[in-house]
Amino acid sequence: MDLGLSEIQKMLQQSSREFLEENCSMEFIRAMESDPIGVTDELWKNFAELGWLGLMIPEQYGGSGFEYQDMSILLEEMGRVGLAGPFFSTSIIAVQTILSSGNESQKSQLLPKIASGDLKFSLSFFEKNGNINPSEIQTTTARKQDEGWVINGEKSFVTDAASSDYFIVAAKTMDSQNQGISLFLVPRDNEGVEITEMKSVGGEKLSKVNFQEIKIDNSQLLSNENLSWDVLSKVFKLGASGKSSEMAGAATKILEMTIDYVKNREQFNRPIGSFQAVQHQCADMAIMSKLCTQFARKSAWYLSNQEKNDLEVHRSKAYVSKSFHDICQISHQLHGAIGYTWDYDLQIYTRKMQHQKLAFGDYNYHHKKISKLLNLT
């Protein structure tokens, strides 16, 4: 049992905190909310130089060869400054998908370009209903034609579509309830791709993407035909754990903001932080925030080190999704009216929370998974 960070993780934590605090001010985060991409070219180049884009990519493919558990520490820091943007879609979700399902030539062609910052990816999985379930993929299908495939269908909740060079599209390739899903690489510029924005409250770039008679060749089949659900369910676990880490980082930041505020805000000739009614709510926040970090780190560690990791991931996303919302709410309560204003930074975290707690499975989704794993059904 070693609940501390490794030396490398400590260095990553410190260097990323310094870099992000300097380069991702609240002013910048606000600007990125209305930016169609959510990141500047300069920042993306910096990420590449820092080795973050290829953090999880093995060295043989031009990456830094870190493990997901190390990435989770960086995600805490990104959550801390409230950074959204295409990093998550490309450097976690796409990297993991390609690593788990790509063939050698796909890996050696694509991964180095992700690490260098030349390619961005986006996973197109969800459909209109927004459910995480293989059987929900119905409308997007791919059929064999000549030496390749033709894809048709509409995806929803596609993150960072506008900035992606490629979509990784989950399409039905066999008539089966829970299987028969294959993954395809579709260039965004491909004829027949149509992107429509879905407006998310926290500046997350979400879109509907329509694929109409998309013709691609066999080399763009990313996985073993029909067998992609296993890959996807693994990728979704990283997504769930990763969002937990972002929320844990944000929770720590919000706690700090709140403590600072109640120490300085005076009413009745004393700091409001001297009132026990306020103190106990701060204590509640501190408890939950600590647990968010512990649950998130535990799930990250399990993902990197243990074959059986489902339960820990579900526990993490269920706990953190629920508690982080509570933390935001308490923080607003203690900030009083000022925290409710657009100009005050607290609300940025609160709006972003709405995406984070729902992405890759909400509290209810993970709750049900835990129930199954504990044989409660």
């Binding site: 403590i259 120490k263 204590a283 509640d284 408890i287 512990q294 709750h367 129930s371 504990l374 044989n375």
Partner: protein
């Protein structure tokens, strides 16, 4: 990071678990533990002596005092397994509190006299801290101890003294300087209850149990060598940060065992509407939330032990562990009785688990109160942990 125990630790867990399962007189599934404060006191002592022989009772003690200097994680495992298996025999007052205090503050003679019986599992101690007018504000205690040259004269009352009715010895805090500031006039003493004529009166709790007592010192004379450490330094001696695991891991660990037992019950029984409990969505949600609560308390307990093993003094983690662990015991008892329908009110053998969880529900009401209430723990988190100003120390601007 590593969220599993080492192989060596797991080997110890297995050895301990085998021993425990062998020691339990009935099938493990049917074992509900015993009442160490009542009829089963002697049985608890018997197990305690066996633990002593195994070297486990005082495994946390330094080697020079006959312990093993066991790591914090090994202590965590010991407490996890003992709690999970509802085993009696641990010695919170002697081995965990007084022993280490003596090692730091006792004279050579005091150590020779008191440590071996504790290490051998032969003696029951109790702790005299709270008084009728001193609960959360413990430092306001009034029990009067006067220096009468050849003895100390003690007058006053201690209350909520757990196990005093079974103990032969008591360690207690008394006021030795009524004029000094409240923390600076307190001293730490030990006394033999029967030999000194200390009166112990039972207090029966709302679950009809006899755990704690009122302890009355009426012109009690105790020998001069009963003072532990320096005069008037008792508050600080009692607060000595003992270098022992105190993670509170016993709460989530016994909760996990109860949780498993409750699931078995849920699978076999129906709710008040006559539907199988297992198909009731409310019950499903409650149980999964409970699983999260257990894991939360366990994670914090591990964090406390981890910080200690790194040589750090846990700041808010100890308080967090106490709040989460004790709240958890109340939730689990409530859930178990809620699931029992009308039978949830019965104390006889027709109740599920012979009414065990109802008894527990009444019993654990004390858990968020003793050893620093939840409110006091939150004050500690807010003031010591988060650096918020203490209300009682505040100078209000005019």
């Amino acid at each position: 990071m590593r969220y599993t125990f080492t192989q060596e630790d797991e080997k110890f867990r297995q050895e301990l678990r085998n021993w425990i399962r062998n020691e339990i007189p009935v099938n493990f599934e049917k074992w509900h533990g015993v009442n160490e404060a009542g009829d089963d006191f002697e049985y608890g002592l018997k197990i305690r002596r066996k633990l002593a022989k195994k070297g486990w009772l005082t495994m946390a003690w330094p080697k020079e005092y006959g312990g093993q200097g066991a790591s914090y994680m090994k202590q965590v495992i010991f407490n996890e397994e003992m709690s999970y298996h509802r085993m009696p025999g641990r010695d919170g007052f002697g081995a965990k509190m007084l022993g280490p205090t003596l090692m730091v503050h006792g004279t050579e003679e005091q150590k020779k006299r008191f440590l071996p019986p504790i290490a051998n599992g032969e003696v029951q101690w109790c702790q005299g801290y709270s008084e009728p007018d001193s609960g959360s504000d413990l430092a306001s205690l009034k029990l009067k101890v006067e220096d009468k040259k050849d003895h100390w004269l003690v007058n006053g009352t201690k209350v909520w003294t757990s196990m005093a009715h079974k103990a032969t010895w008591i360690f207690f805090l008394g006021r030795t300087d009524p004029d000094a500031p409240k923390h600076k006039g307190i001293s730490f003493f030990v006394a033999n209850i029967e030999d000194c004529g200390i009166e112990v009166q039972p207090i029966i709790n709302m679950g009809s149990e006899h755990y704690f007592n009122q302890v009355i010192f009426n012109n009690v004379k105790i020998p001069k060598d009963s003072l532990i450490g320096e005069l008037n330094r008792g508050w600080y001696i009692a607060a000595t940060l003992l270098d022992f695991e105190r993670s509170g891991v016993e709460y989530p660990s016994s909760a996990r065992r109860n949780f498993e037992e409750i699931i078995q019950f849920v699978k076999r029984n129906k709710n008040s509407s006559g539907e199988p409990l297992i198909q009731d969505p409310y019950i499903n949600k409650t149980l999964v939330d409970l699983d999260l609560d257990i894991e939360a308390a366990r994670l914090i307990a591990y964090e406390v032990a981890y910080l200690q093993s790194e040589g750090e003094v846990p700041s808010i983690e100890g308080s967090v562990a106490k709040i989460l662990g004790t709240t958890l015991t109340q939730k689990i008892a409530k859930i178990a009785t809620d699931f029992s329908g009308l039978y949830g009110q019965l104390t006889d053998s027709s109740a599920p688990f012979d009414g065990k969880y109802l008894k527990q529900q009444l019993h654990v009401t004390a858990f968020t109160i003793f050893a620093g209430t939840t409110e006091i723990q939150k004050n500690i988190i807010a003031t010591r942990g988060l650096g918020l100003p203490r209300e009682d120390k505040l100078t209000v601007k005019k």
